[in-house]
């Protein structure tokens, strides 16, 4: 299968995602330049972390208007798999491909450290190899990672089982201490309604090799691979249900 890693000006985890997919997961991968107007031949797109456009104005706000985002929007609406990691998540929020918004961390400081997240839904293509309640140890690195959504959005997220990861303690308990940035309802990752678009703040690509002291993140990529390989070209088929977004 083939992954595409989108490169925005200011992306800085693009190489990391590329390396993990190619060298650790062992799948094909290409970079996609933000000025591209078409994205074709990919099973899964990754919007990597970094500081697209310096995170100026608001994180993700400017990248959202990159030419490639139109194509990514229709790729997603056709059911294509999209993962937004950190800044990629923020861009997906700004693009209304995912609901809600990101705000400054409660501490107002950048936080880089390992966090524990709990798998809340394993029926998505990104978590199909996980157990519900499984705790993954994956680093975070952001200053704008406090997820916010109003009550209506929150209701929707819960009803549709769109909360995919929550910050938790080592043992899987939810507590404010283990919520590193103050995210609403401990949210670390969500999907869209149809479950083909994932946004998460932690960096699975940084925790995919034992030498980096955790391999827990690899399961996200491997779940995608296993999903796609079970139903080839799933992501590119046109008969996937179009997603209705809350915007």
């Amino acid at each position: 299968m083939r992954f595409g890693v989108v490169v925005f000006p200011g992306s800085n985890c693009d190489d990391d995602c590329y390396d993990v997919v190619r060298d650790v997961v062992g799948e094909e991968v290409d970079f996609i330049w933000h000025k591209e107007r078409r994205v074709e031949g990919f099973d899964c797109l990754i919007l990597p972390g970094g500081f697209s456009y310096g995170d100026y104005l608001r994180t993700g706000a400017i990248a959202r208007f990159s030419p490639v985002m139109k194509a990514i929007g229709s790729f997603a609406r056709r059911g294509g798999l999209v993962i937004g990691i950190c800044n990629g998540f923020q861009i997906l929020l700004e693009s209304n491909l995912l609901p809600g918004a990101m705000m400054k961390n409660r501490s107002l400081r950048f936080i880089c450290k390992f966090a524990n997240i709990r798998v809340e839904n394993n029926l998505t293509p990104f978590t199909s190899l996980c157990q519900i309640g499984q705790v993954l140890r994956i680093p975070i690195a952001h200053i704008d990672g406090r997820y916010y959504a109003d009550d209506e959005i929150m209701r929707g997220l819960k009803e549709n089982n769109q909360i995919i990861f929550r910050y938790c303690s080592e043992d899987g308990e939810l507590s404010q201490e283990s919520n590193p940035n103050g995210s609403k309802d401990f949210i670390a990752g969500i999907s869209n309604r149809s479950g083909n678009v994932l946004g998460l703040m932690p960096h699975p690509e940084r925790a995919s090799e034992s030498i980096l002291s955790s391999e827990d993140g690899r399961v996200v990529f491997e779940s995608v691979v296993s999903t796609v390989k079970r139903s080839p070209r799933r992501s590119l088929r046109n008969d996937c249900p179009p997603s209705e977004e809350i915007s």
């Binding site: 800085n12 310096g54 880089c112 390992f114 030498i211």
Partner: protein, 747 residues
């Protein structure tokens, strides 16, 4: 700004040039310089750019070695061969004065500058380290400086996607009003794609790339070459705002440009901006250069040539392109949305010629600007204070009653405590190569595509150097090397940043000489040549010069990444072993400072041969996988080192039970000196009991003292001497104290 009609002696003086310097300029030019030329000389001959006070002494450093590809001074940074066709480019720079005035932006732009130095050589930056010094945290301004400086470094480095993997931080009254902000950058390049900062090939076009030029940072080089006085207001325009986003584009564009084969040379516009980059590249290439200022993109109206030449606007660089390949170069700049314009060309006449709409505005021999600055042998005198503070005897110092309390105070002190508050604000994992994250003795960074890894550490101790600059200089190198050894790497080269007071003060210059001599001796014996560095003089506050503070950035190499070591005890039942000797050395210690309020005494001596033996032994032990952990004893001495080994950075720690009843010599040492004295050349390791005989044998072979201290056990740190309990603290208490030390920065 308006051009003055005439060059008066006052104007010359205001430009920081002496009468003799001015005469030399007139002699060489054969005429009076005009105003623009005066400005050009003032920055190029400033201390910051010309090294006119430090040059003769920097020659004392050993600069060659089997791994050195490009020696210090030849280019913007030295280059170290690490095999496999790869090399490491590294450098450290200070941004002390800008950070004192505007800490966030000052520190930010400091990171920006050092990164450009590395990537303009064709190397991809892979790591940053920061060495910071502030006044005590009980002062609000210092807390503000700390949080702003750390925030500024984080903002720039994180945005660029270069992990900040280590550093050091220390608080002392001497830095009140004159904080030190040194940043080190390490890059990796293929040997055959290094770029020189030289302009060669007459008629090759010279491109200006990056941000537009404004009046910001005008004369920053001369700003750094002056004392920070009370009248800061005047210097405000010297502050700049960093744009890490633009720099990220510059970085990617530069590295991509290399693949086009269109680049002859590159240099970043750092200190002294356009002036420095044009004259240095021309001079290094034995060429001349002609630039037309009317082509320089500007941000502000009405700038005169003087201002354009002296501006230190950030995120700009000069690229010399092969004639005929302009199109390839442009394609890359366009791709990254960067403004790039040809502003002139390389010439064969060895002159820097500056034109404007109106015609010529400056013409100066390029080499005269870069090499012509007079070199001074400054007056030096051994300072008076040394006589007074040296002769203290330990017997006049009361022995503490409560050792537990002392240990808790020490581990909670901001200079010793956990630096998590700092490094968690830095993205230290981006690039997915950080094998050992901050918190260990050194960071360990793997090099993808090879089996290699490099280890990095930053060290220096101003208090030691104040009390004994020669020994202090030695210790800075020795400790940095020891730190990389502790993670399993072989020290191979250093870069440095030398932070001192006003060099025209004889005692400051004496300190400078002695520090350099000490560092040089240590580098020679430990086999770590100096690849370059930076000198920052004029670090003064109203009370006088700061403590002499050389900072060493050490590069270590692991050839085959199958082993590495961390400081933390791993396993119940492991034995704790000390490599190296204990002696009664208490002078200059954190203990004396914190508990007794004393900054005096003879500091610990390093016997460099012994140091080398200890380091080699430790390295052999790690390579043979005989030890489970290793950690050097530094600030706070043996007790603090033990405590640090107990407090694992990632979750559960392990306690230790230590019996100090070895030899009669040790029994002679006073308890506080034994626990908290900072005797050098000591490394604390732990091992499985069955490995002990081999460890002892190896140590004996290397003539290194090896002392079995105790065992990893329980959840307290307990130290006994002859059955008497001298220390007994729970891990919880240790961790609580150790973790809270920097929370004062949360202001």
């Amino acid at each position: 700004m308006k051009e003055p009609g005439k060059i008066t002696p006052d104007l010359v003086k205001a430009h920081g040039l002496t009468e003799e310097e001015y005469e030399k300029i007139k002699d060489t030019l054969g005429r009076e310089p005009n105003f623009t030329e005066l400005g050009i000389f003032s920055v190029m001959w400033s201390e910051h750019c010309s090294y006119k006070s430090s040059k003769p002494l920097l020659r004392l450093f050993p600069t060659s070695g089997k791994n050195i590809l490009i020696k210090a001074g030849e280019e913007n940074a030295g280059v170290v061969d690490i095999g496999d066709g790869l090399c490491v480019v590294m450098k450290m720079e200070s941004h002390n004065h800008p950070s004192a005035v505007e800490p966030f932006q000052g520190a930010s732009t400091g990171v920006g500058g050092i990164l450009r130095d590395i990537f303009t050589m064709g190397a991809r930056p892979i790591a940053l380290l920061d060495s910071l010094r502030f006044g005590p945290l009980d002062n609000g301004r210092n807390r503000y400086l700390l949080s702003s400086v750390v925030g500024g470094i984080a903002a720039y480095g994180n945005c660029m996607g270069i992990p900040t993997v280590g550093g050091e931080i220390c608080f002392d009254e001497t830095y009140e009003g004159n904080p030190l902000v040194n940043v080190m950058c390490v890059g990796v390049a293929r040997r055959n794609s290094l770029v020189r900062a030289r302009a060669t090939g007459a008629r090759n076009p010279v491109f200006y790339v990056g941000a537009d030029t404004g009046r910001d940072g005008l004369g920053g080089a001369s700003f750094a070459s002056r004392e920070l006085t009370e009248e800061l207001d005047k210097d405000r325009p010297a502050v700049q705002i960093g744009d890490p986003f633009k720099e990220k584009l510059l970085l990617e564009a530069c590295l991509e440009l290399l693949n086009t084969g269109a680049v002859v040379g590159m240099q970043d516009m750092g200190a002294a901006g356009l002036t420095c980059s044009t004259s240095e590249t021309a001079s290094r290439g034995h060429s001349g250069m002609r630039v037309d200022l009317s082509l320089v993109p500007r941000r502000e109206e009405g700038m005169i040539p003087y201002e354009v030449m002296l501006s230190e606007s950030q995120e700009r660089m000069l690229v010399i392109v092969t004639r005929g390949k302009e199109r390839e170069a442009r394609r890359v700049f366009d791709k990254w949305d960067l403004h790039a314009v040809p502003i002139g060309e390389v010439t064969g006449d060895e002159y820097l010629t500056v034109l404007d709409d109106a015609g010529g505005v400056a013409q100066v021999p390029a080499r005269f600007l870069t090499e012509g600055a007079p070199v001074y042998t400054r007056e030096e005198r051994k300072p008076e204070y040394l006589r007074k503070i040296k002769d203290v005897s330990i017997s006049t110092i009361p022995e503490p009653q409560d050792y537990d309390g002392v240990l808790k105070v020490l581990v909670a002190s901001p200079s010793i405590c956990s630096k998590r508050w700092v490094y968690e604000q830095y993205d230290h994992m981006v690039r997915t190569d950080t094998v050992l994250r901050p918190g260990a003795d050194a960071a360990l960074i793997r090099i993808k595509g090879t089996q290699k890894a490099i280890a990095l550490s930053c060290d220096g101790n101003g208090r030691y150097c104040f009390l004994d600059p020669y020994e202090g200089g030695k210790i800075a190198v020795a400790e940095a090397a020891r730190n990389v050894v502790c993670v399993g790497a072989e020290p191979i080269a250093i870069t440095n940043c030398l932070n001192f007071g006003n060099p025209t003060k004889p005692h400051v210059f004496w300190q400078f000489r002695r520090c350099v001599e000490g560092m040089a001796d240590a580098c020679r014996i430990l086999n770590t040549p100096v690849t370059g560095g930076n000198v920052s003089f004029y670090n003064e506050n109203p009370k006088g010069a700061i403590d002499p503070t050389p900072v060493v950035g050490m590069l270590g190499l692991v050839e085959k990444m199958s082993f590495s070591c961390t400081p933390w005890f791993k396993r119940e039942g492991d034995l704790i072993v000390l490599l190296g000797e204990c002696t009664e050395e208490i002078g200059g210690s954190e203990y004396l400072g914190l508990i007794h309020g004393l900054k005096m005494g003879p500091i610990p001596r390093v016997d460099l041969e012994k140091e080398r033996a200890v380091q080699n032994t430790c390295l052999e032990l790690i390579r043979a996988r005989l030890v489970s952990s290793s950690h050097d004893c530094s600030e706070g001495g043996l007790a603090v080192a033990l405590a640090e080994c107990c407090m694992s950075d990632s979750g559960m720690g392990s306690g230790a039970v230590v019996e100090l009843e070895a030899s009669p010599e040790i029994l002679k040492i006073r308890m506080d000196a034994l626990l908290f004295g900072e005797t050098q050349s000591r490394i604390l390791v732990s091992c499985r009991p069955r490995n002990l005989p081999r460890i002892e044998r190896l140590a004996r072979q290397n003539k290194v003292a090896c002392w079995r201290l105790g065992v990893v056990r329980g959840n307290r740190l307990t130290v006994r001497r002859i059955k008497r309990r001298v220390l007994d603290v729970s891990l919880e208490e240790l961790e609580e104290n150790w973790g809270k030390g920097l929370s004062g920065g949360d202001d």
